[in-house]
């Protein structure tokens, strides 16, 4: 390990000042992201019923996203570490504001109306929470002690509870996961893991009875037996699995998916877009997308492994695992492994702020990847 460090530094003498690195761009990451966005726009065109309006808007948001990513990448990690407390604070305030002044639809109150645009504070927290937790643990011994664990739980649970109140159980769980990933990567002791696991088991009935709303319970029940409610909640699952299954090995062809083009598939251009891809491009298409995701996550983990500080490491690791979780949860819910929670498929699903948030995360990862090597005296 020590020697490796030394060797790597020797292999790229003065690399800090050359090419993409000086622009704080991680080229492999950028190429994978561009490929994903390309696939995303291609599928979106078909999924939206060949509606160029959606494609153009999505492309615009992606461009904004890339811009935001480059901007974020320019700031040194020291900056993010120092100011994470502020971002977290702003996030909390806006979550509170949502509770009182929020707008929304279908019984959920998730948005802040800023006049010129609508803004979803929970999206911000997807980056702010792991950053805050990483910053907190980055300055401390690892593995974390009991008091550190308590502190991390507090940092994580305040926003999570606020988001549960909206209610947006899916996002709350993902944000909790992002905080948890940080402390897990920081070497959380096995006994905490075990007790957390047991606690979670015990919490399920409590959640079921006191926290979950009827429609959320319905989604879980539907997952267990979609056939019970063919035209109601089960419809989505039946139609999406039918779309995926009927795609077969090579798919029905771009824009030729009958399930999606004839509106059998619900939410085909947002949360359920993977079913469109699976129907029209078959298993080959799904595998191609999975490969892109795997490359992306792999690259992020390499960045995490090679990062210069504890904060960067934890941050990069948490972001990559969170990203994987998005992909996993979305692909699982559409194919009927998990209950339907509102999690979009990164870079493929149509959706405003979620796209930009994603790019913010990858901006941080680029910043980490292109950090100047810290001179370290390894004895």
């Amino acid at each position: 390990m020590l020697r490796n460090d030394f060797v790597r530094r020797m292999e790229s003498p003065g690399g800090d000042k050359r090419g993409s690195r000086s622009l704080h761009i991680d080229l492999p990451l950028l190429l994978i992201l561009i490929s994903l966005c390309g696939v995303g726009l291609l599928v979106l065109y078909s999924a939206s019923g060949q509606n160029l309006f959606y494609v153009k808007r999505q492309a615009l948001l992606m461009l904004i996203g890339f811009g935001a990513m480059f901007a974020v990448a320019q700031f040194p990690m020291r900056f993010w570490e120092r100011w994470s407390f502020v971002f977290y604070g702003i996030g909390l305030m806006s979550l509170l504001a949502v509770l009182f002044f929020g707008v929304g639809a279908k019984g959920a109150q998730r948005w802040l109306d800023l006049g010129f645009t609508r803004f979803q504070p929970s999206e911000l927290m997807k980056v702010a929470v792991p950053m805050m937790v990483s910053a907190y643990l980055g300055k401390r011994y690892i593995p974390p002690t009991f008091s550190h664990v308590v502190m991390v739980l507090i940092i994580t649970f305040i926003p999570v509870l606020l988001i549960v109140r909206q209610p947006d159980l899916g996002t709350a769980l993902l944000i909790f996961a992002s905080g948890f990933f940080v402390i897990f990567l920081a070497g959380l002791h096995k006994r905490y893991l075990l007790s957390a696991f047991l606690l979670a088991l015990a919490a399920i009935p409590t959640l079921w009875i006191f926290v979950m709303r009827d429609y959320q319970k319905q989604r879980v029940l539907t997952l267990l037996s979609p056939e019970d409610d063919k035209l109601g909640a089960g419809w989505n699952i039946i139609q999406s699995t039918t779309a995926i299954g009927s795609g077969g090995w090579s798919g029905k062809g771009w824009t030729l998916g009958t399930q999606s083009q004839l509106n059998f598939l619900p939410e085909s251009h947002t949360d359920f877009i993977i079913a469109v891809l699976a129907e029209e491009f078959g298993l080959i298409g799904v595998m191609t997308l999975c490969t892109l995701y795997a490359l992306l996550i792999g690259r992020c983990m390499v960045i995490a492994l090679n990062s210069q500080s504890q904060f960067s490491r934890l941050m990069a690791g948490s972001l990559s695992l969170t990203f994987f979780t998005y992909v996993f949860v979305n692909m699982s819910m559409v194919s009927g492994i998990l209950p339907v929670v509102g999690v979009p498929l990164p870079f493929i699903s149509y959706g405003g702020t979620a796209i930009v948030t994603l790019f913010l995360g990858f901006g941080i990862l680029m910043a980490i990847s292109t950090e100047p090597k810290r001179l370290r005296i390894d004895l």
Binding site: L2, Y141, M287, Q310, L321, M331
Partner: protein, 624 residues
């Protein structure tokens, strides 16, 4: 905040992190594999099931209803047409809130309470996912409004379909009948495949009798529908075969003139082509507009038709059974001659009444002033002046058996076999009939009543026309038929049985007597002979509605019109070479001579005039 990083051991921290990252990679790999396995399972292992399910989702076989065969009259005039209309339908399953939808529609276009009531009734009988009609025959403006507001109307749809239309309204109502929505009883007996996509069926008249010809063959369309059931494209289709077109013997000009001649009277007229048995005109008055029934008649309209004292729905021409009265006399006279019961020289003295041995009550002569027709009344005079006493005497000599047997050969007492449903047989009484129907034996008095077409005897106007045609054609056993050709192919008429073997002298005698009914100065129908350029042979008749006691005088001014006598007339023309034969009745018209005969003359006039013009034949040629 304590910064303990200063005391940290970076190498150990990296090691811990690397270890945890490794575990994470492992977990990511395993969970990722689960997802991939799920997609492989769905897309490869279970692909076939899902492909089938996906096709079932989108592809539906939709019946393509055939267009119903058209009906033309003899000259090619369209009597039953299919008119494209637009209807507003609702598929119950596709509407989340039906009441909401109905009230939304109500705010957009005019929907009557009746429409809603009938819609709800249909809703109870529909199949799942069936389009249930809410409003028929939308105007262009209504369609526009509905199209613009389509997004508000999930579950409602405007669709085009063909609806039966009868351009002549009530003129042919009874003959052609009408189509109506298939009811529950019918839906159990019909072949549901043939009728898929068709929601109406012939209910009465020719529409019912020729249902199988008119229906056509259903086609099919494989259509791709979206999740809301809207058809996106047609993948494959088998065209429906339209129903066969019928061309009738009916001549709409004769029909029209007969229909109008009845004015406000109740009654019926049937005109037959003597040579072929083709029905040239068939009117039952009053009529009704069959168009009322095609989209489902409203209860109010139906009640008013049903409860009208004039009974417009009753087809008198084939279902009305009346005592034929004196119109039967030429036939009975012919039977008397043929059976040698009487001769052409046979004559009686008529005192104005007839007394039979052993019966105190005399039979009066209804058609003479007191004092009777005088001495030396022969058969010709008895027909011309309609002398009852002659027939009383003759019938006793002939006996009911002969009268009954021969009358049946002329179409009485049995259905004629016309191509219409619901024809009634009338009654030609006989000893056997009385035993069966009444359980009583036959008396001579019954024979005497029968001899002037009263008593038990009943005949439909159609039977009178057939009788008249068979007399006119000297015993040719023609069967009445409405349809002349199907899709241009002339129907091969059933083999006409051998004409009755009756001495031609007897035919000549009876024909001449009937001609003299119209053309002699003593004839009961002499009133219609004025200005005739050809000769009509006929016989008037009067049928009693209530029985008048022998000593009483019939006085129409003292009784209600509904109890006035029925007026009847049978005729054929031209008398020398008969072509058209007619049977008709005017209910409560009192006298055949004044109420019925003029109507017959109008119809025959039109027939004779149009038949001389050769261009009519040319038109018929072109149409067929």
């Amino acid at each position: 905040m304590i910064n303990d990083a200063a005391f940290s051991d970076p190498a150990r921290e990296r090691r811990i992190f690397a270890g945890r990252l490794l575990i994470s990679v492992f977990l990511v790999f395993v969970t990722g594999l689960v997802v991939v396995a799920r997609y492989v399972d769905l897309q490869l292992t279970r692909h076939k099931d899902f492909a089938t399910h996906s096709d079932n989702n989108r592809v539906h076989v939709r019946p393509a209803p055939p267009s119903r065969g058209l009906i033309y009259d003899h000259n090619g005039e369209l009597l039953a047409d299919n008119r494209p209309i637009h209807i507003l339908t609702i598929v119950r399953e596709r509407s989340d809130d039906l009441d909401q939808l109905l009230s939304t529609i109500d705010t957009l276009i005019d929907i009557s309470e009746n429409d809603i009531k009938r819609f709800k009734k249909r809703l109870k009988r529909r199949k799942p996912y069936e389009q249930t009609p809410l409003k028929y025959d939308l105007t262009e403006r209504e369609r526009g409004i509905l199209a613009v507001n389509g997004y508000l109307l999930e579950g409602a749809e405007v669709s085009a379909r063909l609806m039966r239309f009868y351009p002549n309204g009530e003129l042919f109502g009874h003959v052609i009948g009408y189509v109506g929505r298939i009811n529950e009883r019918e839906s159990q007996t019909i072949d549901s495949v043939k009728y898929s996509g068709t929601d109406s069926i012939g209910k009465t008249g020719l529409e019912k009798f020729y249902e199988s010809q008119l229906l056509g063959e259903v086609g099919s369309e494989h259509v791709e529908t979206n999740a809301r059931g809207r058809v996106m494209r047609v993948l494959d289709n088998i065209d429906p075969q339209p129903g066969n077109n019928l061309t009738l013997h009916l001549d709409s000009r004769l029909q029209r003139v007969a229909h109008e001649a009845f004015k406000d009277e109740r009654g019926a007229l049937v005109a037959i082509d003597v040579k072929t048995g083709g029905i040239l005109a068939m009117v039952s008055a009053p009529g009704y507009d069959p168009n009322l029934f095609t989209s489902g008649i409203s209860q109010r309209n139906y009640d008013s038709l049903l409860n009208s004292p004039d009974r417009p729905l009753f087809d008198r021409a084939i279902r009305g059974q009346y005592p034929p009265g004196s119109t039967i006399k030429p036939l009975f006279g012919l039977i008397g001659l043929h059976s040698n019961t009487i001769t052409m020289d046979y004559a009686i003295d008529d005192p104005g009444f007839f007394i039979m041995e052993g019966i105190e009550r005399p039979w009066r002569d209804h058609n003479s002033k007191r004092g009777g027709h005088g001495k030396g009344v022969d058969l010709a005079e008895a027909i011309i002046e309609s002398c009852d006493v002659f027939f009383y005497k003759m019938s006793i000599k002939t006996g009911i058996d002969l009268l009954s047997n021969y009358s049946e050969k002329f179409g009485l007492g049995q259905t004629t076999g016309i191509d219409l449903p619901g024809e009634r047989p009338g009654i030609m009484p006989s000893k056997q009939w009385k035993k069966g129907a009444r359980g009583q034996s036959w008396f001579n008095g019954d024979t005497i009543n029968t001899s002037i077409g009263q008593g038990f005897m009943l005949a439909t106007p159609l039977q009178l026309a057939v009788m008249s045609a068979r007399i006119a054609s000297r015993g040719k056993m023609v069967t009445p038929k409405l349809v002349k050709s199907i899709n241009g192919e002339t129907l091969v008429s059933n083999e006409i049985p051998e004409p009755l073997a009756i001495n031609s002298e007897h035919w000549d005698y009876v024909h001449k007597a009937m001609k003299d009914v119209v053309h002699s100065t003593r004839g009961t129908a002499k009133g219609i002979s004025k200005g005739l350029s050809y000769k009509i042979a006929g016989k008037t008749g009067t049928a009693q509605v209530i029985s008048i006691k022998a000593e009483e005088e019939y006085d129409s001014s003292r009784i209600d019109k509904s109890q006035w006598d029925h007026a009847l007339f049978v005729a054929f023309a031209p008398a020398e070479d008969p072509q058209i034969a007619i049977g008709l009745i005017v209910e409560n018209g009192e006298h055949g001579s004044s109420a019925a005969a003029p109507i017959a003359r109008l119809v025959i006039d039109v027939y004779m005039n149009s038949n001389t013009g050769s261009h009519q034949a040319a038109i018929a040629e072109v149409v067929n």
